[in-house]
């Protein structure tokens, strides 16, 4: 990609000026690319058997690679966009993402997948999931609010914190109505992390954690969550007892991963994967594919790659030259870390089953694009710090 871009003379002069390629966090870029390629192979393996029944076994992989291409382009853009104009445009981005979030409710546009009315139909059979973009918008908007005037005061005012909480709560409420519990948990973690790192008073942090716990308990007690949501959330506790639909997935996923052993059955050779025993193993249960076919060694490599990405993100957050950059990086860390933990954890049977993808790995175009935007934003924060330091 870099070659084709570099052929444009305007781009080339820009690159020389800023030393863009020299100053990039190369370890982050390579780790993210490697994770994406690894993921594509897993998606291929998971979808071959399903697609073969309808003709072209590679059709799903091809579609996946198209979204990878779009994701890389968006990431490049996110890393290059000017810091100040990004801050200026953030309110518009936020409002746009809220509008996008509401679109699935419009009849004829929205689609319900796995019980969640959270997708927008596009022509050509593609769908997009606006809540993925909402994660980016919430991070940017909270970072703007909590980094105002920070060269003067040490901690954000109560008013700013309240506003930031409101910024997170609005999309959370919409997504709750759409039944997308997994994304709600991620947004909560992201908001909490940003408020904590912004330096807000400790009582805010403690209060918000307490509030979240009480909120979840009340929701379950009052039956605000639908029965299947509770069942999904609790089936991970003892899946072998009851082989109903909800627990079936968790059980099959664990059998697949456990059967992988040290080195796995080999790519395209996993009996659970190729026999299509694990549902949605190209997205929500993608970890079962690496677990079964490449064993503990392959799983550890994948987790290591994700670990490298998060390590670089933490370094970028520490070295950020202003609070805004740090908070953006913090939001991305919380997002990617918690989403990866939730996704892999549910395949491993230590987290409740919620329908969220593994960043950069799972099939699912919107997630791929949003995650590459996140990687681009991390690079942007780094480039800003390098230039300020130079």
């Amino acid at each position: 990609m870099s070659q084709t871009v570099a052929r444009d003379p305007a781009v080339r002069s820009l690159m020389r000026q800023s030393g863009y390629w020299r100053d990039l966090d190369w370890i982050l870029l390579i780790a993210a690319l490697a994770t994406t390629i690894f993921g594509s192979v897993l998606v291929w393996s998971a979808s071959r058997a399903d697609m073969a029944a309808d003709g072209d076994p590679q059709s799903y992989l091809k579609r996946h690679l198209v979204t990878v291409g779009i994701g890389l382009a968006l990431g490049w853009f996110a890393s290059r966009v000017d810091y100040r104009s990004l801050r200026a445009y953030t309110p518009f981005i936020y409002v746009a993402s809220i509008i996008l979030l509401l679109m699935p409710f419009i009849p004829g546009i929205g689609t319900t997948i796995a019980g969640a009315r959270a997708w927008i139909d596009l022509p050509g059979g593609m769908t997009i999931q606006p809540s993925e973009f909402a994660k980016v918008a919430v991070i940017l908007m909270m970072a703007v609010l909590l980094s105002e005037k920070r060269d003067i005061v040490d901690e954000p005012s109560d008013r700013d914190v309240l506003l930031a909480v409101a910024v997170a709560v609005l999309p959370v409420l919409i997504i709750l109505v759409q039944n997308d519990t997994g994304t709600v948990l991620i947004l909560g973690t992201v908001a909490l992390s940003i408020i904590a790192v912004s330096g807000a008073r400790t009582r805010w942090v403690v209060g918000l954690i307490g509030g979240a716990v009480v909120g979840i308990l009340v929701a379950v007690q009052l039956g605000l969550l639908k029965e299947y949501q509770v069942q999904r959330l609790t089936s991970f506790i003892n899946p072998s007892e009851d082989v109903t639909d909800a627990a079936y997935n968790a059980n099959q996923a664990r059998i697949a991963i456990g059967g992988g052993g040290w080195s796995g059955h080999g790519l395209f050779e996993g009996p659970q994967t190729q026999g299509r025993f694990v549902p949605v193993n190209e997205s929500d249960f993608i970890y079962t594919v690496v677990g079964e076919e490449l064993g503990f060694v392959g799983s550890a490599v994948l987790l290591l790659l994700i670990g490298i990405i998060l390590w670089r993100a933490v370094v970028i957050a520490f070295r950020a030259d202003d609070m805004y950059g740090r908070l953006v990086a913090t939001g991305v860390i919380a997002w990617l870390a918690f989403q990866a933990f939730e996704n892999v954890g549910m395949s491993l049977g230590i987290m409740p089953i919620t329908g969220i993808p593994l960043p950069l790995v799972s099939a699912g175009g919107t997630s791929m694009m949003a995650t590459w935007i996140a990687v681009g934003l991390l690079q942007n924060v780094r480039l800003h710090a390098v230039r300020a330091g130079a």
Partner: protein, 716 residues
């Protein structure tokens, strides 16, 4: 930045590390420490497919009338999985079921055993499907019984009564068409082998029923549709643990044929009438066939074979005994495209084309004596008639053998006589081949016969194959026969000695036999219909087709079949024009005159050729009548044949006339297209319409052909 922010970021980093560490540790625990246990669990996991066959597509005639449709029947099935949960393997349930169905208990018990299991009866009694598939134990159960089974769920665990589609033949106008329509049967071992190992959900399964003959077989893939398949996850104990996938069945497409039910009915009746006519002349009239094709497309409008059988016998499976009986009287194969017969004088049209190709003067005068002598042999005319010097047209009209003998003798001489090389030119055989004889026409029906063209080459190959036996017999001198009849043994020995030494020789007698369609040449009646269609349309030999198009079960046109040209026959325009100018004379002034007495030939000229082919032994001749009409603008060719039937003119001629009358709406001496058996006087240009619910739009009133065509056409 503030200390507090740094500290909290550090806490977040530690949290992130611990989350990842948790995942790695949990992975290690599951995969390495407990791996073996999960490997065993994975091995226990298997999938089972439960397939539900799709409703087969209908077969329609050209006007949309169903020739094959489906009716629903109530089938009682037993789910052996559920039965196994009952005390004593459900023995009490089976007893109750036998009582309510009023059938022997053992019959149900036998049916429930998987083929190959201990004590299982041979198929089709045993069950050769999947363990997870409910086993049908009774069909055509009356609704009352079905309802009481379904109402008493607790007494009949695992027993279901459901509706299932089976084939039925609505028989508009009482058509039979059994050979063309074909029948269904269980999938064969060969078909399963041929398919090989495949996971495709629409693969053939052991329980599938497929087309075994006729259109049902030829277009099986189109008519069968795609099955509905439910994929279940099953553990080692055989318990269903989940549903992995569910596909709805897709009903089969409809096949539209070019057959017109009403015309087919007329042709079938007329064929039987011709056979009766033969029998009334004290001939055996053992078998027969009739074909009607469109000369400009090669589409088959009607095709009948005698004897035939009732297609309904296949419904619900035929017993071995019934099958053997059918095989014995050979009514299972169609004489129209699977029977091979000497063409007799209908072959003379081809001989005339051969003469034209070999530069004989088509407009010359040829002597027609009552007999010709070649060597020691005498070859006679039919009934030893002599007509003196006549034109070739007249020779065709009166079917003068001796004129054609002379032509054949000259060709034979030219090629080198008895010493000619095997590949010496043979205009007669070449003309026969260019008109499609000796190879299958390619009709869209399975099992077509190719017929045979007598030639030097054929004779040589035949000799190669048989000479060892001939020479050995000549050597041994038939010792067994000699004991009782030394004279006959001498005769056989002499014959075999001659065959042994000279059997490869294409002699003058062979050439003379070949030119009048006798000897070793055999054809199918369908081939002959295509020959006369080619003459009629100016020399295009079509590949005959029964199927005209495909319509989906929801009424969309899937495909329309175009006419297929096999080749342009190798005969000059001049020769073909000569034939077209000559053949109408057969009907007005020749051997076809008698059956067409009183027919309005001035309005509707008919070209024809008769044939009375001699067969070995003292059997009566094979009666042939080939015709096309209108002779000046040909539309249809009609060929009829009756074995051991007598002359073409007396036995087949009147039936061909009746068929033409029905086709063109001839009433007495007037022609009224409105009276044609074809609705609107001609076959439909387009495919007939099928409604979205799958019912075909059929002609109304008396044109419908059955009292309640809607019911007959409905799929439900």
């Amino acid at each position: 930045m503030s200390q507090r922010s740094n500290l909290r970021l550090l806490v977040l980093a530690v949290l992130v590390v611990s989350l990842l560490a948790t995942l790695v540790a949990r992975s290690f625990y599951l995969q390495v420490l407990e791996g073996a246990e999960y490997r065993a669990a994975a091995a226990d996991n298997t999938v089972r497919e439960v397939a539900e066959p799709a409703v087969r597509g209908l077969v329609l005639d050209q006007a949309g009338r169903p020739l094959i449709s489906n009716r629903t029947t109530v089938v009682v099935t037993v789910d052996r999985q559920a039965l196994a949960q009952e005390p004593n393997g459900g023995a009490a349930v089976i007893t109750r079921l036998a009582r309510i169905l009023d059938m022997p208990r053992d019959k149900i018990a036998d049916r429930l055993l998987t083929c190959g299991a201990e004590g299982a009866k041979p198929p089709p009694i045993c069950w050769n499907g999947s363990t997870y598939q409910p086993v049908p134990v009774a069909t055509d159960v009356d609704t009352q019984t079905a309802l009481s089974i379904m109402e008493r769920r607790r007494e009949f665990p695992g027993i279901t009564a459901k509706l299932q589609a089976v084939r039925q033949y609505p028989s508009p106008f009482n058509v039979n068409a059994a050979h063309m329509l074909g029948y269904l049967g269980p999938v064969t071992e060969e078909q399963l082998d041929e398919q090989g190992q495949t996971e495709a959900y629409d693969r053939l399964r052991r329980t599938d029923v497929v087309g075994r003959s006729g259109l049902e077989r030829q277009y099986d893939g189109i008519l069968r549709g795609k099955p509905g398949v439910t994929t279940l996850a099953v553990d080692t104990a055989g318990n269903v643990t989940g549903t992995l996938e569910q596909r709805e069945p897709k009903p089969g497409d409809y096949l539209v044929t070019s057959i017109d039910a009403r015309l087919q009915s007329v042709v079938e009746q007329q064929l039987v009438a011709a056979v009766r006519r033969a029998q009334s002349q004290d001939f055996a009239g053992t078998s027969g066939a009739a074909v009607v094709v469109e000369v400009d497309t090669g589409r088959v409008l009607a095709m009948a074979s005698y004897p035939t059988y009732d297609p309904d016998i296949w419904i619900g499976g035929v017993t071995k005994r019934q099958y053997e009986q059918l095989m014995d009287d050979s009514s299972l194969s169609s004489n129209a495209y699977q029977g091979q017969f000497a063409p007799g004088s209908t072959f003379k049209a081809i001989s005339t084309a051969a003469a034209g190709n070999d530069n004989f003067d088509l407009y010359g005068i040829y002597p027609c004596p009552s007999r010709v002598k070649i060597g020691a042999q005498t070859f006679r005319n039919f009934e030893s008639n002599a007509y003196g010097p006549i034109s070739l047209t007249r020779a065709l009209e009166v079917s003068c053998n001796t004129v054609f003998y002379e032509i054949a003798r000259r060709m034979w001489q030219e090629a080198g006589g008895p010493d000619a090389a095997v590949d010496a030119p043979d205009p007669i055989a070449e003309a026969a081949r260019t008109f499609g004889l000796g190879s299958p026409t390619g009709i869209d029906l399975p099992g077509e016969a190719s017929g045979r063209v007598a030639s030097r080459q054929f004779k040589y190959e035949n000799w190669e194959a048989k000479k060892d036996a001939w020479c050995r017999n000549a050597e041994e001198g038939y010792p067994e026969t000699r004991k009782t009849n030394p004279k006959l043994a001498d005769y056989y020995t002499a014959l075999d000695r001659e065959n042994c030494t000279d059997g490869f020789q294409w002699r003058a007698g062979d050439a003379l036999n070949a030119v009048i369609g006798q000897g070793d040449t055999t054809v199918t009646p369908l081939q002959m219909a295509m020959v006369y269609a080619a003459i009629a349309n100016g020399g295009t030999l079509y590949q005959p087709q029964v199927a005209k198009g495909i319509i989906s079960a929801t009424g969309e046109v899937v495909e329309e079949f175009e006419p297929i040209v096999t080749r342009r026959v190798d005969a000059s325009k001049r020769t073909l024009r000569f034939l077209r100018n000559s053949l109408p004379g057969v009907t007005t002034d020749g051997s076809g005159e008698t059956p067409f007495a009183g027919f309005p030939l001035d309005v509707l000229p008919v070209a024809s050729k008769t044939g009375s082919a001699q067969v070995t032994g003292d059997k009566a001749a094979t009666s042939w009548f080939a015709a096309y009409a209108p002779a000046n603008a040909p539309k249809y060719a009609v060929v009829m044949m009756v074995t051991e039937g007598g002359t073409g003119s007396k036995t087949s001629g009147p039936s061909v006339r009746a068929i033409l009358e029905a086709l063109f709406g001839v009433r007495g001496s007037s022609v009224n297209p409105g009276a044609s058996v074809l609705v609107g006087g001609a076959p439909l240009e387009r495919l007939p319409a099928v409604r979205r619910d799958g019912t075909p739009v059929v002609p109304r009133g008396s044109d419908a052909g059955v009292p309640d065509i809607r019911a007959a056409g409905s799929r439900s």
